[in-house]
Protein backbone atom coordinates (compact mmCIF):
# COMPACT_ATOMS: atom_id res chain seq x y z
CA UNK A 1 0.00 0.00 0.00
CA UNK A 2 2.89 2.36 0.66
CA UNK A 3 5.66 3.79 -1.51
CA UNK A 4 3.72 5.08 -4.50
CA UNK A 5 3.12 3.26 -7.78
CA UNK A 6 6.79 3.16 -8.84
CA UNK A 7 7.95 1.80 -5.48
CA UNK A 8 5.28 -0.88 -5.61
CA UNK A 9 6.32 -1.83 -9.15
CA UNK A 10 9.96 -2.22 -8.13
CA UNK A 11 8.99 -4.17 -5.02
CA UNK A 12 6.84 -6.44 -7.18
CA UNK A 13 9.74 -7.13 -9.56
CA UNK A 14 12.10 -7.71 -6.62
CA UNK A 15 9.99 -10.56 -5.21
CA UNK A 16 10.74 -12.89 -8.15
CA UNK A 17 14.30 -14.30 -8.43
CA UNK A 18 14.49 -13.51 -12.15
CA UNK A 19 13.26 -9.98 -11.57
CA UNK A 20 15.81 -9.51 -8.81
CA UNK A 21 18.65 -10.62 -11.13
CA UNK A 22 17.40 -8.26 -13.83
CA UNK A 23 17.03 -5.34 -11.46
CA UNK A 24 20.50 -5.92 -10.00
CA UNK A 25 21.98 -6.05 -13.51
CA UNK A 26 20.20 -2.85 -14.55
CA UNK A 27 21.10 -1.10 -11.29
CA UNK A 28 24.70 -2.30 -11.68
CA UNK A 29 24.93 -0.88 -15.19
CA UNK A 30 23.28 2.32 -14.07
CA UNK A 31 25.61 2.72 -11.09
CA UNK A 32 28.71 1.97 -13.18
CA UNK A 33 27.60 4.41 -15.85
CA UNK A 34 27.00 7.23 -13.37
CA UNK A 35 29.76 6.66 -10.82
CA UNK A 36 32.72 4.97 -12.53
CA UNK A 37 33.81 7.38 -15.30
CA UNK A 38 35.93 9.71 -13.06
CA UNK A 39 38.12 6.74 -12.13
CA UNK A 40 38.63 5.55 -15.69
CA UNK A 41 40.96 6.77 -18.35
CA UNK A 42 39.44 9.25 -20.76
CA UNK A 43 37.73 7.11 -23.42
CA UNK A 44 39.33 9.26 -26.09
CA UNK A 45 42.89 8.68 -24.84
CA UNK A 46 45.02 6.78 -27.32
CA UNK A 47 47.77 5.30 -25.16
CA UNK A 48 49.98 3.92 -27.95
CA UNK A 49 48.57 4.23 -31.45
CA UNK A 50 51.39 2.25 -33.02
CA UNK A 51 50.60 -0.79 -30.87
CA UNK A 52 47.09 -1.11 -32.40
CA UNK A 53 44.57 -3.30 -30.60
CA UNK A 54 46.08 -4.82 -27.45
CA UNK A 55 44.71 -7.96 -25.76
CA UNK A 56 43.22 -7.65 -22.23
CA UNK A 57 45.92 -7.05 -19.59
CA UNK A 58 46.26 -5.61 -16.08
CA UNK A 59 46.47 -2.07 -17.48
CA UNK A 60 43.52 -2.60 -19.84
CA UNK A 61 41.22 -5.33 -18.41
CA UNK A 62 39.06 -5.38 -21.55
CA UNK A 63 41.98 -4.68 -23.89
CA UNK A 64 42.23 -1.76 -26.26
CA UNK A 65 40.72 -1.14 -29.68
CA UNK A 66 42.43 -0.51 -33.02
CA UNK A 67 43.12 3.09 -31.96
CA UNK A 68 44.54 1.77 -28.65
CA UNK A 69 41.66 3.27 -26.64
CA UNK A 70 40.71 1.48 -23.40
CA UNK A 71 37.69 -0.78 -24.13
CA UNK A 72 36.56 -0.92 -20.46
CA UNK A 73 36.40 2.84 -20.26
CA UNK A 74 34.55 3.02 -23.56
CA UNK A 75 32.04 0.32 -22.59
CA UNK A 76 31.21 2.12 -19.35
CA UNK A 77 31.05 5.55 -20.95
CA UNK A 78 29.02 4.01 -23.77
CA UNK A 79 26.54 2.71 -21.19
CA UNK A 80 25.67 6.29 -20.30
CA UNK A 81 24.73 7.09 -23.87
CA UNK A 82 23.11 3.82 -24.82
CA UNK A 83 21.04 3.46 -21.62
CA UNK A 84 19.80 7.03 -21.68
CA UNK A 85 18.85 6.76 -25.34
CA UNK A 86 17.09 3.45 -24.84
CA UNK A 87 15.20 4.40 -21.66
CA UNK A 88 13.99 7.79 -22.82
CA UNK A 89 13.10 6.61 -26.33
CA UNK A 90 11.15 3.63 -24.95
CA UNK A 91 9.37 5.88 -22.44
CA UNK A 92 8.36 8.28 -25.23
CA UNK A 93 7.00 5.47 -27.41
CA UNK A 94 5.17 3.84 -24.49
CA UNK A 95 3.35 7.02 -23.58
CA UNK A 96 2.42 7.71 -27.21
CA UNK A 97 1.46 4.11 -27.96
CA UNK A 98 -0.62 3.69 -24.81
CA UNK A 99 -2.33 7.05 -25.29
CA UNK A 100 -3.25 6.52 -28.95
CA UNK A 101 -4.19 2.86 -28.39
CA UNK A 102 -6.45 3.57 -25.42
CA UNK A 103 -8.25 6.44 -27.08
CA UNK A 104 -8.75 4.45 -30.31
CA UNK A 105 -9.94 1.36 -28.46
CA UNK A 106 -12.22 3.08 -25.95
CA UNK A 107 -13.76 5.80 -28.11
CA UNK A 108 -14.07 3.53 -31.14
CA UNK A 109 -16.02 4.47 -34.24
CA UNK A 110 -14.59 7.06 -36.61
CA UNK A 111 -11.80 8.11 -34.18
CA UNK A 112 -10.58 4.51 -34.01
CA UNK A 113 -10.80 4.07 -37.79
CA UNK A 114 -8.85 7.24 -38.56
CA UNK A 115 -6.13 6.66 -35.94
CA UNK A 116 -5.62 3.04 -36.92
CA UNK A 117 -5.48 3.76 -40.67
CA UNK A 118 -2.81 6.40 -39.93
CA UNK A 119 -0.90 3.85 -37.87
CA UNK A 120 -1.24 1.25 -40.63
CA UNK A 121 0.07 3.77 -43.13
CA UNK A 122 3.06 4.65 -40.98
CA UNK A 123 3.76 0.98 -40.29
CA UNK A 124 4.01 0.30 -44.00
CA UNK A 125 7.23 2.36 -44.04
CA UNK A 126 10.15 0.39 -42.57
CA UNK A 127 11.33 2.01 -39.32
CA UNK A 128 14.99 2.12 -40.33
CA UNK A 129 14.09 3.83 -43.60
CA UNK A 130 11.96 6.36 -41.72
CA UNK A 131 14.82 6.99 -39.30
CA UNK A 132 17.29 7.45 -42.16
CA UNK A 133 15.03 10.00 -43.83
CA UNK A 134 14.56 11.97 -40.63
CA UNK A 135 18.16 11.78 -39.56
CA UNK A 136 19.50 12.88 -42.95
CA UNK A 137 18.02 16.31 -42.19
CA UNK A 138 20.81 16.88 -39.71
CA UNK A 139 24.50 17.06 -40.57
CA UNK A 140 25.43 15.86 -37.07
CA UNK A 141 22.36 14.80 -35.18
CA UNK A 142 21.89 16.23 -31.65
CA UNK A 143 21.40 13.52 -29.02
CA UNK A 144 17.98 14.86 -27.98
CA UNK A 145 16.79 14.72 -31.57
CA UNK A 146 18.06 11.14 -31.94
CA UNK A 147 16.17 10.08 -28.80
CA UNK A 148 12.96 11.76 -29.90
CA UNK A 149 13.20 10.33 -33.40
CA UNK A 150 13.66 6.82 -31.98
CA UNK A 151 10.76 7.38 -29.57
CA UNK A 152 8.39 8.86 -32.13
CA UNK A 153 8.95 6.00 -34.57
CA UNK A 154 8.59 3.24 -31.98
CA UNK A 155 5.02 3.54 -30.72
CA UNK A 156 3.05 2.17 -33.69
CA UNK A 157 3.13 -1.47 -32.66
CA UNK A 158 2.44 -0.56 -29.03
CA UNK A 159 -0.66 1.40 -29.99
CA UNK A 160 -2.10 -1.57 -31.89
CA UNK A 161 -1.35 -3.87 -28.97
CA UNK A 162 -2.99 -1.54 -26.45
CA UNK A 163 -5.99 -0.94 -28.71
CA UNK A 164 -6.55 -4.68 -29.04
CA UNK A 165 -6.42 -5.15 -25.27
CA UNK A 166 -8.78 -2.22 -24.68
CA UNK A 167 -11.24 -3.59 -27.26
CA UNK A 168 -11.16 -6.92 -25.45
CA UNK A 169 -11.77 -5.29 -22.05
CA UNK A 170 -14.05 -2.43 -23.07
CA UNK A 171 -17.24 -4.42 -22.62
CA UNK A 172 -15.97 -6.54 -19.72
CA UNK A 173 -18.53 -6.74 -16.91
CA UNK A 174 -16.20 -5.05 -14.45
CA UNK A 175 -15.89 -2.02 -16.72
CA UNK A 176 -19.69 -1.88 -17.00
CA UNK A 177 -19.93 -2.26 -13.22
CA UNK A 178 -17.47 0.58 -12.65
CA UNK A 179 -19.49 2.80 -14.99
CA UNK A 180 -22.73 1.83 -13.27
CA UNK A 181 -21.23 3.06 -10.00
CA UNK A 182 -20.43 6.49 -11.38
CA UNK A 183 -16.87 6.21 -12.72
CA UNK A 184 -16.15 8.84 -15.40
CA UNK A 185 -14.72 7.73 -18.78
CA UNK A 186 -11.34 9.19 -17.82
CA UNK A 187 -11.38 7.26 -14.57
CA UNK A 188 -12.34 4.03 -16.33
CA UNK A 189 -9.41 4.50 -18.73
CA UNK A 190 -6.85 5.40 -16.08
CA UNK A 191 -7.87 3.21 -13.16
CA UNK A 192 -9.38 0.15 -14.81
CA UNK A 193 -8.15 -0.15 -18.39
CA UNK A 194 -4.55 1.09 -18.12
CA UNK A 195 -3.54 -1.23 -15.23
CA UNK A 196 -5.24 -4.14 -16.96
CA UNK A 197 -3.18 -3.58 -20.12
CA UNK A 198 0.02 -2.95 -18.13
CA UNK A 199 1.21 -6.54 -18.57
CA UNK A 200 1.46 -6.52 -22.39
CA UNK A 201 2.67 -2.91 -22.21
CA UNK A 202 5.61 -3.83 -20.00
CA UNK A 203 6.55 -6.73 -22.22
CA UNK A 204 6.45 -4.34 -25.19
CA UNK A 205 8.70 -1.97 -23.26
CA UNK A 206 11.36 -4.55 -22.45
CA UNK A 207 11.42 -5.78 -26.03
CA UNK A 208 11.51 -2.17 -27.20
CA UNK A 209 14.55 -1.57 -24.99
CA UNK A 210 16.56 -4.19 -26.87
CA UNK A 211 15.24 -3.02 -30.22
CA UNK A 212 16.20 0.61 -29.57
CA UNK A 213 19.70 -0.34 -28.43
CA UNK A 214 20.17 -2.36 -31.61
CA UNK A 215 18.65 0.36 -33.83
CA UNK A 216 20.93 2.95 -32.31
CA UNK A 217 23.85 0.62 -33.04
CA UNK A 218 22.76 0.30 -36.64
CA UNK A 219 22.40 4.05 -37.05
CA UNK A 220 25.78 4.64 -35.44
CA UNK A 221 27.32 2.21 -37.93
CA UNK A 222 25.92 4.24 -40.79
CA UNK A 223 27.47 7.34 -39.22
CA UNK A 224 24.02 8.73 -38.48
CA UNK A 225 23.59 7.91 -34.81
CA UNK A 226 25.87 8.78 -31.95
CA UNK A 227 28.82 10.57 -33.46
CA UNK A 228 32.42 9.38 -32.85
CA UNK A 229 34.47 9.82 -30.79
CA UNK A 230 31.55 9.65 -28.30
CA UNK A 231 31.42 5.94 -27.45
CA UNK A 232 28.19 3.96 -27.79
CA UNK A 233 27.91 0.18 -27.65
CA UNK A 234 26.59 -0.21 -31.14
CA UNK A 235 29.12 2.19 -32.56
CA UNK A 236 31.93 0.29 -30.83
CA UNK A 237 30.94 -3.10 -32.23
CA UNK A 238 30.70 -1.71 -35.70
CA UNK A 239 33.98 0.22 -35.42
CA UNK A 240 35.54 -3.07 -34.35
CA UNK A 241 34.40 -4.85 -37.49
CA UNK A 242 37.73 -4.68 -39.35
CA UNK A 243 39.52 -6.35 -36.42
CA UNK A 244 36.75 -8.81 -35.57
CA UNK A 245 39.07 -11.83 -36.05
CA UNK A 246 42.38 -10.38 -34.86
CA UNK A 247 41.04 -8.51 -31.81
CA UNK A 248 37.72 -10.13 -30.82
CA UNK A 249 37.69 -8.38 -27.39
CA UNK A 250 36.96 -5.05 -29.06
CA UNK A 251 33.50 -6.26 -30.12
CA UNK A 252 32.94 -8.95 -27.47
CA UNK A 253 32.64 -6.61 -24.45
CA UNK A 254 30.23 -4.06 -25.92
CA UNK A 255 28.28 -7.04 -27.32
CA UNK A 256 28.06 -8.60 -23.88
CA UNK A 257 26.92 -5.26 -22.47
CA UNK A 258 24.09 -5.11 -25.01
CA UNK A 259 23.10 -8.73 -24.40
CA UNK A 260 23.11 -8.29 -20.61
CA UNK A 261 21.02 -5.12 -20.77
CA UNK A 262 18.41 -6.67 -23.04
CA UNK A 263 18.34 -9.81 -20.89
CA UNK A 264 18.00 -7.78 -17.70
CA UNK A 265 15.13 -5.81 -19.19
CA UNK A 266 13.34 -9.00 -20.17
CA UNK A 267 13.85 -10.56 -16.74
CA UNK A 268 12.38 -7.52 -15.02
CA UNK A 269 9.51 -7.43 -17.53
CA UNK A 270 8.66 -11.08 -16.97
CA UNK A 271 8.75 -10.71 -13.20
CA UNK A 272 6.52 -7.63 -13.33
CA UNK A 273 4.05 -9.27 -15.64
CA UNK A 274 3.77 -12.28 -13.35
CA UNK A 275 3.43 -10.26 -10.15
CA UNK A 276 1.19 -7.46 -11.42
CA UNK A 277 -1.51 -10.03 -12.01
CA UNK A 278 -2.73 -11.00 -8.54
CA UNK A 279 -4.10 -14.27 -9.88
CA UNK A 280 -0.57 -15.58 -10.46
CA UNK A 281 1.15 -13.75 -7.58
Amino acid sequence: MRGGPLGRLLAAAWRAPGGRTGLLLLLGFGALATLAPPFLTDPATMSDVTAGAMAPSMAHPFGTDHLSRDVLSRVINGARISLVIALVAVAVSLVLGAGVGMVAGYVGGAVDAILMRLVDGARAIPRLFLLLLLILVWERIPLTALILVLGFTGWLGTSRLVRGEVLRLRHAPFILAARSLGASPYRVLRVHLLPNVAGPLIVAATLGLGEVILLEAGLSFLGLGVQPPTPSWGGMILEARPVLITAPWTSLFPGLAIACTVLAGNLVGDALQASLDPRTA
Binding site: F174, L176, S180, L181, V191, P195, D277, R279
Partner: protein
Amino acid sequence: MSALSVSNLRVRFPRRRGEGWFHPVDGVTLSVEPGEMLAVVGESGSGKSLTCLALLRLLPPPGEIAAGSAIRVDGADVLALDAEGLRQLRGGKVGMVFQDPAASLDPLYTAGAHVIEALRAHHRLTAAAARARAIELLREVGVGRDRVDAYPHQLSGGQRQRVMIAAALAGEPTLLIADEPTSALDVTVQAQLLDLLGELRARRGMAILFVSHDLALVATRADRVTVMYAGKVVETGPTSALFADPAHPYTRALLAATPSLNEPDRVIEPIPGGVPDPKAWPPGCRFHPRCAARFEPCDTREPEWFPLGAERHAQCWLHGNANGDP
Protein backbone atom coordinates in the same frame (compact mmCIF):
# COMPACT_ATOMS: atom_id res chain seq x y z
CA MET B 1 -43.68 9.96 -6.24
CA SER B 2 -42.36 6.67 -7.59
CA ALA B 3 -38.74 5.74 -6.96
CA LEU B 4 -38.69 4.64 -10.58
CA SER B 5 -41.24 5.06 -13.29
CA VAL B 6 -40.73 3.76 -16.79
CA SER B 7 -43.21 4.25 -19.55
CA ASN B 8 -43.19 2.79 -23.02
CA LEU B 9 -39.44 2.08 -22.88
CA ARG B 10 -38.17 0.87 -26.23
CA VAL B 11 -34.58 -0.16 -26.96
CA ARG B 12 -33.52 -0.35 -30.57
CA PHE B 13 -30.57 -1.79 -32.48
CA PRO B 14 -29.81 -1.23 -36.16
CA ARG B 15 -30.49 -4.19 -38.42
CA ARG B 16 -27.34 -5.76 -39.76
CA ARG B 17 -28.26 -5.39 -43.40
CA GLY B 18 -30.48 -2.86 -45.03
CA GLU B 19 -32.58 -0.25 -43.38
CA GLY B 20 -34.36 0.08 -40.09
CA TRP B 21 -34.13 -1.06 -36.53
CA PHE B 22 -35.31 -3.91 -34.39
CA HIS B 23 -36.59 -3.53 -30.83
CA PRO B 24 -35.53 -6.19 -28.31
CA VAL B 25 -37.26 -4.08 -25.63
CA ASP B 26 -40.50 -2.86 -27.15
CA GLY B 27 -42.73 -0.90 -24.85
CA VAL B 28 -41.97 -1.63 -21.20
CA THR B 29 -44.03 0.21 -18.63
CA LEU B 30 -43.39 -0.34 -14.94
CA SER B 31 -42.97 1.52 -11.70
CA VAL B 32 -41.28 0.91 -8.37
CA GLU B 33 -42.58 2.74 -5.31
CA PRO B 34 -40.25 3.91 -2.53
CA GLY B 35 -39.23 1.00 -0.29
CA GLU B 36 -40.91 -1.51 -2.55
CA MET B 37 -39.45 -4.65 -4.08
CA LEU B 38 -40.59 -5.20 -7.63
CA ALA B 39 -39.64 -8.45 -9.33
CA VAL B 40 -39.31 -8.53 -13.09
CA VAL B 41 -39.55 -12.10 -14.35
CA GLY B 42 -39.41 -13.68 -17.77
CA GLU B 43 -37.46 -16.18 -19.83
CA SER B 44 -34.00 -15.47 -21.18
CA GLY B 45 -34.36 -13.26 -24.24
CA SER B 46 -37.41 -11.39 -22.97
CA GLY B 47 -35.41 -8.15 -22.66
CA LYS B 48 -34.98 -7.99 -18.88
CA SER B 49 -31.25 -7.23 -18.84
CA LEU B 50 -31.41 -4.67 -21.65
CA THR B 51 -34.21 -2.94 -19.75
CA CYS B 52 -31.95 -2.69 -16.67
CA LEU B 53 -29.03 -1.32 -18.70
CA ALA B 54 -31.31 1.18 -20.42
CA LEU B 55 -32.49 2.53 -17.05
CA LEU B 56 -28.98 3.87 -16.39
CA ARG B 57 -28.31 4.49 -20.08
CA LEU B 58 -25.58 1.86 -20.16
CA LEU B 59 -26.74 0.12 -23.35
CA PRO B 60 -23.90 -1.38 -25.39
CA PRO B 61 -23.49 0.56 -28.64
CA PRO B 62 -25.00 0.61 -31.24
CA GLY B 63 -28.08 0.01 -29.07
CA GLU B 64 -30.05 3.08 -28.04
CA ILE B 65 -33.26 4.17 -26.38
CA ALA B 66 -35.93 4.92 -28.97
CA ALA B 67 -37.89 8.17 -28.99
CA GLY B 68 -41.11 8.16 -27.00
CA SER B 69 -39.57 6.31 -24.04
CA ALA B 70 -39.65 7.89 -20.59
CA ILE B 71 -37.55 7.01 -17.53
CA ARG B 72 -37.93 8.93 -14.28
CA VAL B 73 -36.04 8.38 -11.04
CA ASP B 74 -37.67 10.19 -8.12
CA GLY B 75 -39.44 12.29 -10.73
CA ALA B 76 -36.23 13.38 -12.48
CA ASP B 77 -36.05 12.70 -16.21
CA VAL B 78 -33.10 10.32 -16.81
CA LEU B 79 -33.21 10.80 -20.57
CA ALA B 80 -32.62 14.55 -20.19
CA LEU B 81 -29.45 14.22 -18.08
CA ASP B 82 -26.08 15.39 -19.38
CA ALA B 83 -22.93 13.26 -18.98
CA GLU B 84 -22.12 14.57 -15.49
CA GLY B 85 -25.71 14.28 -14.30
CA LEU B 86 -25.78 10.71 -15.52
CA ARG B 87 -22.51 9.92 -13.77
CA GLN B 88 -23.93 11.25 -10.52
CA LEU B 89 -27.11 9.22 -10.95
CA ARG B 90 -25.16 5.99 -11.53
CA GLY B 91 -24.09 4.68 -8.17
CA GLY B 92 -25.68 7.74 -6.53
CA LYS B 93 -29.46 7.63 -6.47
CA VAL B 94 -29.47 4.32 -8.29
CA GLY B 95 -27.18 1.42 -7.43
CA MET B 96 -26.78 -1.57 -9.71
CA VAL B 97 -25.69 -5.15 -9.16
CA PHE B 98 -24.98 -7.49 -12.05
CA GLN B 99 -25.39 -11.13 -12.84
CA ASP B 100 -21.85 -12.48 -12.72
CA PRO B 101 -20.02 -11.34 -9.57
CA ALA B 102 -16.80 -13.06 -10.68
CA ALA B 103 -16.50 -10.83 -13.74
CA SER B 104 -18.00 -7.67 -12.23
CA LEU B 105 -15.04 -6.94 -9.98
CA ASP B 106 -11.78 -5.62 -11.42
CA PRO B 107 -9.26 -8.41 -10.74
CA LEU B 108 -6.54 -5.88 -9.87
CA TYR B 109 -8.33 -4.22 -6.94
CA THR B 110 -9.24 -5.41 -3.48
CA ALA B 111 -12.77 -5.67 -2.09
CA GLY B 112 -12.23 -2.49 -0.09
CA ALA B 113 -10.84 -0.60 -3.09
CA HIS B 114 -14.04 -1.26 -5.07
CA VAL B 115 -16.19 0.21 -2.33
CA ILE B 116 -13.80 3.14 -1.81
CA GLU B 117 -13.92 3.93 -5.54
CA ALA B 118 -17.72 4.03 -5.47
CA LEU B 119 -17.68 6.19 -2.32
CA ARG B 120 -15.28 8.71 -3.75
CA ALA B 121 -17.21 8.93 -7.01
CA HIS B 122 -20.05 10.50 -5.03
CA HIS B 123 -18.65 12.06 -1.86
CA ARG B 124 -15.68 14.25 -1.05
CA LEU B 125 -13.84 12.01 1.38
CA THR B 126 -10.26 11.69 2.56
CA ALA B 127 -8.60 8.33 1.88
CA ALA B 128 -8.84 7.39 5.57
CA ALA B 129 -12.49 8.40 5.89
CA ALA B 130 -13.40 6.52 2.71
CA ARG B 131 -11.65 3.41 3.96
CA ALA B 132 -13.42 3.59 7.32
CA ARG B 133 -16.79 4.00 5.58
CA ALA B 134 -15.98 1.13 3.16
CA ILE B 135 -15.27 -1.15 6.11
CA GLU B 136 -18.63 -0.19 7.62
CA LEU B 137 -20.49 -0.83 4.36
CA LEU B 138 -18.78 -4.17 3.90
CA ARG B 139 -19.72 -5.12 7.46
CA GLU B 140 -23.30 -4.12 6.73
CA VAL B 141 -23.44 -6.63 3.87
CA GLY B 142 -21.67 -9.34 5.87
CA VAL B 143 -18.09 -9.09 4.61
CA GLY B 144 -15.72 -9.23 7.58
CA ARG B 145 -12.86 -6.87 8.38
CA ASP B 146 -10.37 -9.60 7.37
CA ARG B 147 -11.71 -9.70 3.80
CA VAL B 148 -11.42 -5.97 3.12
CA ASP B 149 -7.96 -6.29 1.57
CA ALA B 150 -8.68 -9.53 -0.28
CA TYR B 151 -8.58 -9.61 -4.08
CA PRO B 152 -11.62 -10.86 -6.01
CA HIS B 153 -9.99 -14.21 -6.80
CA GLN B 154 -9.56 -14.81 -3.07
CA LEU B 155 -13.29 -14.34 -2.40
CA SER B 156 -16.15 -16.82 -2.81
CA GLY B 157 -18.95 -16.12 -5.28
CA GLY B 158 -21.31 -15.00 -2.53
CA GLN B 159 -18.68 -12.72 -0.98
CA ARG B 160 -17.98 -11.13 -4.37
CA GLN B 161 -21.64 -10.34 -4.84
CA ARG B 162 -21.75 -8.87 -1.32
CA VAL B 163 -18.83 -6.62 -2.26
CA MET B 164 -20.74 -5.50 -5.35
CA ILE B 165 -23.77 -4.75 -3.18
CA ALA B 166 -21.63 -2.77 -0.73
CA ALA B 167 -20.22 -0.73 -3.63
CA ALA B 168 -23.74 -0.15 -4.96
CA LEU B 169 -24.79 1.11 -1.51
CA ALA B 170 -21.91 3.62 -1.37
CA GLY B 171 -23.95 6.45 -2.87
CA GLU B 172 -26.90 5.82 -0.48
CA PRO B 173 -29.22 4.89 -3.36
CA THR B 174 -33.00 5.17 -3.18
CA LEU B 175 -33.24 2.42 -5.80
CA LEU B 176 -31.18 -0.73 -6.24
CA ILE B 177 -31.36 -2.50 -9.59
CA ALA B 178 -30.35 -6.14 -9.21
CA ASP B 179 -30.08 -7.97 -12.54
CA GLU B 180 -30.24 -11.68 -11.73
CA PRO B 181 -27.76 -11.15 -8.88
CA THR B 182 -27.98 -14.74 -7.70
CA SER B 183 -28.22 -16.67 -10.95
CA ALA B 184 -24.52 -17.55 -10.98
CA LEU B 185 -24.56 -18.70 -7.34
CA ASP B 186 -25.67 -21.91 -5.68
CA VAL B 187 -29.03 -22.21 -3.97
CA THR B 188 -28.04 -21.70 -0.32
CA VAL B 189 -26.01 -18.62 -1.20
CA GLN B 190 -28.96 -17.35 -3.25
CA ALA B 191 -31.22 -17.49 -0.23
CA GLN B 192 -28.65 -15.70 1.97
CA LEU B 193 -28.24 -12.90 -0.56
CA LEU B 194 -31.98 -12.45 -0.91
CA ASP B 195 -32.30 -12.26 2.87
CA LEU B 196 -29.57 -9.62 2.83
CA LEU B 197 -31.38 -7.59 0.15
CA GLY B 198 -34.56 -7.83 2.23
CA GLU B 199 -32.78 -6.56 5.34
CA LEU B 200 -31.15 -3.69 3.47
CA ARG B 201 -34.48 -2.70 2.01
CA ALA B 202 -36.13 -2.69 5.42
CA ARG B 203 -33.30 -0.84 7.13
CA ARG B 204 -32.65 1.76 4.45
CA GLY B 205 -36.14 2.15 3.02
CA MET B 206 -34.55 1.49 -0.37
CA ALA B 207 -36.63 0.35 -3.36
CA ILE B 208 -35.38 -2.73 -5.22
CA LEU B 209 -35.94 -3.73 -8.82
CA PHE B 210 -35.14 -7.41 -8.81
CA VAL B 211 -34.75 -9.21 -12.12
CA SER B 212 -34.99 -12.96 -12.20
CA HIS B 213 -36.06 -15.87 -14.34
CA ASP B 214 -36.85 -17.84 -11.19
CA LEU B 215 -40.47 -17.47 -10.10
CA ALA B 216 -40.06 -19.54 -6.95
CA LEU B 217 -37.30 -17.23 -5.76
CA VAL B 218 -39.47 -14.19 -6.29
CA ALA B 219 -42.72 -15.56 -4.86
CA THR B 220 -41.92 -15.10 -1.20
CA ARG B 221 -39.97 -11.86 -1.31
CA ALA B 222 -41.31 -9.38 -3.84
CA ASP B 223 -44.22 -7.01 -3.18
CA ARG B 224 -45.24 -6.91 -6.81
CA VAL B 225 -44.31 -8.83 -9.92
CA THR B 226 -44.01 -7.69 -13.50
CA VAL B 227 -43.90 -10.44 -16.10
CA MET B 228 -42.04 -9.74 -19.34
CA TYR B 229 -42.31 -11.62 -22.60
CA ALA B 230 -40.69 -10.80 -25.93
CA GLY B 231 -39.73 -7.24 -25.03
CA LYS B 232 -43.08 -6.34 -23.50
CA VAL B 233 -44.73 -6.41 -20.11
CA VAL B 234 -47.56 -8.95 -20.31
CA GLU B 235 -48.83 -8.84 -16.76
CA THR B 236 -48.22 -6.95 -13.56
CA GLY B 237 -49.74 -7.16 -10.10
CA PRO B 238 -49.24 -7.81 -6.38
CA THR B 239 -47.24 -11.01 -5.85
CA SER B 240 -49.83 -13.02 -3.94
CA ALA B 241 -52.73 -12.13 -6.26
CA LEU B 242 -50.64 -12.77 -9.35
CA PHE B 243 -49.44 -16.16 -8.16
CA ALA B 244 -52.87 -17.21 -6.85
CA ASP B 245 -54.66 -16.27 -10.05
CA PRO B 246 -52.40 -15.59 -12.99
CA ALA B 247 -54.27 -13.62 -15.64
CA HIS B 248 -52.02 -14.01 -18.66
CA PRO B 249 -51.57 -17.45 -20.26
CA TYR B 250 -47.82 -16.86 -20.27
CA THR B 251 -47.76 -16.32 -16.50
CA ARG B 252 -49.88 -19.45 -16.09
CA ALA B 253 -47.50 -21.39 -18.30
CA LEU B 254 -44.49 -20.11 -16.35
CA LEU B 255 -46.06 -21.20 -13.07
CA ALA B 256 -46.97 -24.61 -14.53
CA ALA B 257 -43.31 -25.01 -15.52
CA THR B 258 -42.06 -24.24 -12.00
CA PRO B 259 -41.79 -27.05 -9.44
CA SER B 260 -43.51 -26.39 -6.12
CA LEU B 261 -42.96 -27.89 -2.66
CA ASN B 262 -46.66 -27.54 -1.84
CA GLU B 263 -47.75 -29.68 -4.76
CA PRO B 264 -45.08 -32.35 -5.09
CA ASP B 265 -47.25 -34.54 -7.32
CA ARG B 266 -48.08 -31.90 -9.90
CA VAL B 267 -46.69 -32.61 -13.34
CA ILE B 268 -44.29 -29.92 -14.52
CA GLU B 269 -45.25 -28.73 -17.95
CA PRO B 270 -42.63 -27.01 -20.10
CA ILE B 271 -43.79 -24.20 -22.38
CA PRO B 272 -43.60 -25.44 -25.97
CA GLY B 273 -41.32 -23.52 -28.35
CA GLY B 274 -38.95 -20.71 -27.46
CA VAL B 275 -38.87 -16.93 -27.11
CA PRO B 276 -39.20 -15.45 -30.63
CA ASP B 277 -36.32 -13.67 -32.36
CA PRO B 278 -36.37 -9.94 -31.55
CA LYS B 279 -35.57 -9.25 -35.21
CA ALA B 280 -38.93 -10.78 -36.17
CA TRP B 281 -41.50 -10.47 -33.39
CA PRO B 282 -44.73 -12.33 -34.25
CA PRO B 283 -47.71 -10.17 -35.26
CA GLY B 284 -50.59 -9.67 -32.88
CA CYS B 285 -49.96 -10.95 -29.38
CA ARG B 286 -46.32 -12.06 -29.23
CA PHE B 287 -47.17 -15.11 -27.17
CA HIS B 288 -49.84 -16.43 -29.54
CA PRO B 289 -47.69 -19.05 -31.32
CA ARG B 290 -47.06 -20.75 -27.95
CA CYS B 291 -50.38 -19.98 -26.32
CA ALA B 292 -52.87 -22.75 -25.48
CA ALA B 293 -55.73 -20.28 -25.08
CA ARG B 294 -55.35 -18.32 -28.30
CA PHE B 295 -58.45 -17.42 -30.29
CA GLU B 296 -59.57 -15.16 -33.10
CA PRO B 297 -57.90 -11.73 -32.66
CA CYS B 298 -54.64 -13.03 -31.07
CA ASP B 299 -52.60 -13.59 -34.23
CA THR B 300 -53.52 -10.33 -35.92
CA ARG B 301 -54.20 -7.67 -33.30
CA GLU B 302 -52.00 -6.68 -30.43
CA PRO B 303 -53.94 -6.86 -27.14
CA GLU B 304 -54.32 -3.71 -25.10
CA TRP B 305 -53.37 -3.13 -21.53
CA PHE B 306 -56.51 -4.34 -19.74
CA PRO B 307 -56.96 -3.43 -16.06
CA LEU B 308 -58.00 -6.26 -13.72
CA GLY B 309 -59.07 -4.55 -10.53
CA ALA B 310 -56.73 -2.80 -8.15
CA GLU B 311 -53.12 -2.52 -9.36
CA ARG B 312 -53.44 -5.42 -11.78
CA HIS B 313 -53.08 -5.35 -15.53
CA ALA B 314 -52.69 -7.94 -18.25
CA GLN B 315 -52.02 -7.57 -21.93
CA CYS B 316 -54.24 -10.35 -23.21
CA TRP B 317 -57.46 -10.58 -25.23
CA LEU B 318 -58.95 -12.94 -22.64
CA HIS B 319 -59.52 -9.90 -20.44
CA GLY B 320 -61.15 -7.53 -22.88
CA ASN B 321 -62.39 -7.25 -26.38
CA ALA B 322 -61.48 -5.35 -29.47
CA ASN B 323 -63.83 -2.54 -28.57
CA GLY B 324 -61.78 -1.87 -25.46
CA ASP B 325 -64.62 -2.98 -23.16
CA PRO B 326 -63.51 -5.09 -20.26
